[in-house]
Amino acid sequence: MTSMTATPTLTKKDFESDQDVRWCPGCGDYAVLAQMQKLMPTLGIPRENFAFISGIGCSSRFPYYMETYGMHSIHGRAPAIATGLKLARPELSVWVVTGDGDALAIGGNHFIHAMRRNIGLKIILLNNRIYGLTKGQYSPTSELGKKTKTTPLGSIDRPFSPVAVALGAGATFVARTTDADQAHMGSVLKRAAEHEGTAFVEIFQNCIVFNDGAFAAITDKSVRDDARLLLEHGKPLVFGKNKDKGIRLRGLEPEVVTIGEDGVSVSDLVVHDEASEHSGAAFFLSQFDAPRLPVPLGVFRAVSTPTYEGMNTQLHADARASRGRGDLAALFNSGDLWTIT
């Protein structure tokens, strides 16, 4: 960041590639792209040090539209490719853009292992709860009973929560935002960019063609205040149009209460602690789902833990400190030698 003065001032435009954006008109992906292009020049990182890696799916077209280094790879494998890149080049800012099918179905293994290692990747999952590029099949996040082309009688697959999966895999930064709230998305992405280690962001994203309105009950301006819970570190869990609702614990069960009713005051509410050492509190929040409970948005968890690439660099430094820089002749001539004259 000290190179700010040396780096020419970049603008959003500098991060727009010359490629025509080919998402469907009205797709939520446009909003994510715009926020990302807006965020990049604010990070103090030279443009050539960004790399965007994606897999397959609508969202995975993302790298083509960013004027950075990038790779549109194969289905589900972006975290693995990005891991190799980050290990080889720890100084780069490496981003993975993925979807609910790419990250959670075909690529589930790479997704969880990236989190487990805490390698410095920013993983942005555009969750539209549907397979868009293959024209409308249910995904691992589609709701039970969902009718799609492959589930004409309704889905019997139980969905899982990307946030809960990430937390279960040990992610050190986990957040959620929506394509419908630009300001919120921008602030969450910025937090992710600044996190050291794996940063995971789920973005509720509307698929206008195959799953239109999937998140309307949470994101629509007319209802969202009562349906969503904006997480703020160190603040009580308050929501509602009049900011008069809150979450209180009864034993280990959350309940919605109204502040001022039945003697409930703000001090009775759960206070959000994103830096909590164990991820139990964040997991607790990840289980909140409509309509019984408001859906949390914001940073669930942000803890500082040594990064994989940092530890790897250290191992190499230690090896050199104790053994000296490797020498080919010495390596060849180690072990049990004999000479024939």
């Binding site: 590639s17 490629q19 030279p46 443009r47 050539e48 040090n49 790399a51 890696i53 397959i56 790298p63 083509y64 960013m66 004027e67 950075t68 280094y69 990038g70 790779m71 549109h72 790879s73 194969i74 494998r77 693995a80 490719i81 990005a82 891991t83 190799g84 890149l85 980050k86 290990l87 080889a88 080049r89 100084e91 780069l92 293994n109 790479h110 292992h113 790897n312 191992l315 190499h316 230690d318 090896a319 050199r320 104790s322 053994r323 000296g324 820089r325 490797g326 080919l328 002749a329 390596l331 060849f332 001539n333 072990g335 049990d336 030698l337 004999w338 000479t339 024939i340 004259t341």
Partner: protein
């Protein structure tokens, strides 16, 4: 040590004067026992001892896929065969002259291979009723005369080891584990090898456990003394030292040699090496070796699966490292889609397939070379990848460098085929001067002027650009690319052009392959064509036939895709072509299809290498 010195040191200090010393040209010894008996260690130590004495040697470890199968069972038998000789050695030998069997199961599973009249040394202490029953013996073969065709030596190695170690205070179990050193002592004495060096080796090997080191030394000495102090062996044997090119040598397995080759490729190119890999038999040793070399510019990454192994290597290659992955057949199948991506991206990448018996899980610890056609064709789309194969453990070193030479020069993934035989077997490797190794030229593009992502040089290779280079930001991916810009293109003519240029690029490597070396007459009755680890058996079979005046020549292929440009002309100079392969004729198909000639297939798929005699027998049918 000079050859003469070695021969002198191989004398018989303190040997009973009455013992006869018989000079031999070559000896094949097979050690067999339970997979927990330390057989592989005994074999390795013995090969080290003969190597230091100036013999050439070749080995064949043969072990079960169970780590420690139940003791005494037939399927738990582990073996290690070594041939050492007064001449150049190419194989571990067809039939053992000597079998050292540590239990009845080991005897039962190996006896049929031993030469009639050969020596069979058994640990008689292990021939208990229980062990005999486990091995399926109804009667004790040591007593029923069934071993009459062999020179049988019954030695109660279990009891003698226990006796020698009774003062050590070690547990019965720990003492049991020293049996293999007793057996090693026996063989060193029988083959006139000095004891002192081996004692030093044992102490070094067990430096962290001095009490175990001393116990093993005691067992070793006891075994050695047994030969001298009993009258059981009237003859001991001596193999003259071989005429070997001067130089410094060490014993290397193929996997170890490959690892050193990859280090050399990194050092000689000045580009860091990145290995992404998932453990799989018999390839894992390459990952082990490179993981221990963090003081070089070498990063190793044990990935969550085979796919992540290759994908991380692709990511590292995109980042400007020498990306590579190591695997065996089933893992290769899993990497298929990513290989296609690497072909589209046109990034350098090396994929090592240490082949094993297939299909599916197949025979994980046994030898086969049945992944050749998979390497050439096993992907969706028109997806050409250069393929090379190593022919011996030491050759893995050169092939590792050659694989990266092609990968960086042509910006392409390269498949390097080895197999479980050469991967695990050891042979002497002449230590090269690093400066004598080829320098790999790598130039990263940094000039934004006129940059086009898929513009090509004279070799049809595109430029390699490291992320972090200002002004060269670009995107690549698995979708078809525009011929020049690399932008997504679905244009029909562009696709045809790209398919053709990717094929032409790989085909163009042919001009970069050195002329083949034909061993034997320039024309004649028969040409034997081989690839991979059949090399040793083919060489010896051809030499034997040629010595008898047969009209036979041989050529061995390192480059399988593209094939060497002079191969077609060579094939046409002989009346018949014989192709021995450990598969059902994969190279044979390629040769027929490419050169429109008939070839005689010789197939063996038993998880075992060819015996020299199996190839020799076919040679004399046609020459």
């Amino acid at each position: 040590m000079s050859v003469t010195q070695a021969a002198e040191e191989a004398g018989e200090p303190g040997r009973a004067p009455s013992r006869l010393v018989e000079e031999l040209e070559s000896v094949v010894i097979r050690f067999v026992g339970d997979s927990g008996d330390g057989i592989q260690l005994t074999g390795t130590e013995f090969s080290r001892a003969v190597a230091k004495a100036g013999h050439d040697f070749a080995t064949h470890p043969d072990y079960p896929s169970e780590i420690r199968a139940p003791t005494g069972t037939l399927f738990g038998v582990s073996g290690y065969q070594i041939q050492f000789a007064a001449r150049q050695v190419f194989t571990s030998g067809d039939a053992p002259d000597v079998l050292v069997a540590m239990n009845p199961a080991a005897l039962k599973t190996n006896l049929s291979d031993v030469k009639r009249g050969g020596i069979v040394i058994v640990n008689s202490g292990a021939f208990t009723d229980g062990n005999l029953a486990k091995a399926g013996y109804k009667a004790n073969p040591l007593e029923d005369g069934s071993l009459g065709d062999f020179r049988l030596y019954q030695i109660d190695i279990s009891e003698l080891t226990a006796h020698a170690l009774k003062e050590t205070g070690l547990s019965k179990k720990e003492i049991g584990r020293c049996k293999n050193y007793y057996a090693l002592g026996l063989m060193l004495a029988l083959y006139s090898r000095p004891l002192e060096k081996e004692e030093e080796d044992v102490r070094r090997k067990f430096a962290k456990k001095p009490e175990i080191a001393e116990a093993n030394v005691l067992a070793l000495r006891a075994g050695y003394a047994y030969v001298d102090s009993t009258e059981m062996f009237v003859t001991s044997y001596k193999v003259r030292t071989a005429k070997i090119a001067p130089g410094t040598y060490r014993s290397l397995t193929g996997n170890h040699a490959a690892a050193l080759g990859f280090v050399a490729a990194s050092e000689r190119s000045g580009v860091p090496l990145f290995l992404g890999s998932y453990p799989i038999t018999p390839a894992t040793d390459i990952l082990h070796e490179l993981s221990a070399l963090k003081h070089f510019d070498i990063a190793t990454f044990q990935a969550e699966d085979e796919i992540a192994g290759i994908c991380s290597a692709i990511g590292a290659a995109y980042g400007g490292a020498l990306g590579m992955t190591t695997t065996s057949g089933p893992g290769m199948a899993l990497k298929t889609e990513a290989l296609g991506l690497a072909v589209m991206l046109e990034l350098p990448l090396v994929v090592v397939n240490v082949q094993r018996g297939g299909p599916s899980t197949g025979l994980p610890t046994k030898i086969e070379q049945s992944d050749l056609l998979q390497a050439l064709y096993g992907r969706n789309g028109e997806c050409p990848i250069p393929v090379i194969a190593a022919n011996s453990p030491a050759d893995c070193f050169d092939c590792a460098i050659e694989a990266f030479r092609i990968a960086v020069k042509y910006m392409t993934p390269v498949i390097f085929l080895s197999d479980g035989g050469i991967g695990n077997a050891a042979e002497p490797w002449r230590v090269p001067d690093p400066e004598s190794l080829p320098k790999l030229e790598v130039r990263f593009r940094t000039d934004p002027e006129g940059f086009q992502v898929y513009a090509r040089d004279a070799n049809l290779a595109r430029a390699w650009v490291r992320p972090g280079t200002p002004g060269l930001e670009h995107r690549i991916g698995g979708l078809e690319k525009d011929f020049l810009t690399g932008d997504i293109s679905h244009d029909p003519a562009n696709h045809q052009r790209m398919v053709e240029v990717r094929a032409a690029k790989v085909e163009g490597i042919a001009k970069d392959i050195p002329p083949l070396e034909v061993d034997g007459p320039d024309d004649g009755d028969l040409l034997v064509v081989g690839w991979g680890s059949t090399y040793g058996s083919i060489v010896q079979a051809c030499e034997q036939a040629a010595a008898e005046g047969r009209s036979v020549a041989r050529v061995h292929l390192r480059h399988l895709n593209p094939l060497p440009p002079d191969l077609g002309g060579i094939l046409k100079r002989y009346k018949r072509v014989l192709v021995p392969e450990m598969n059902l004729g994969q190279l044979s198909r390629l040769l027929r299809e490419r050169y429109l000639i008939d070839v005689i297939q010789l197939s063996k798929v038993q998880g075992k290498p060819f015996k020299v005699s199996e190839i020799y027998d076919r040679i004399i049918d046609f020459s």
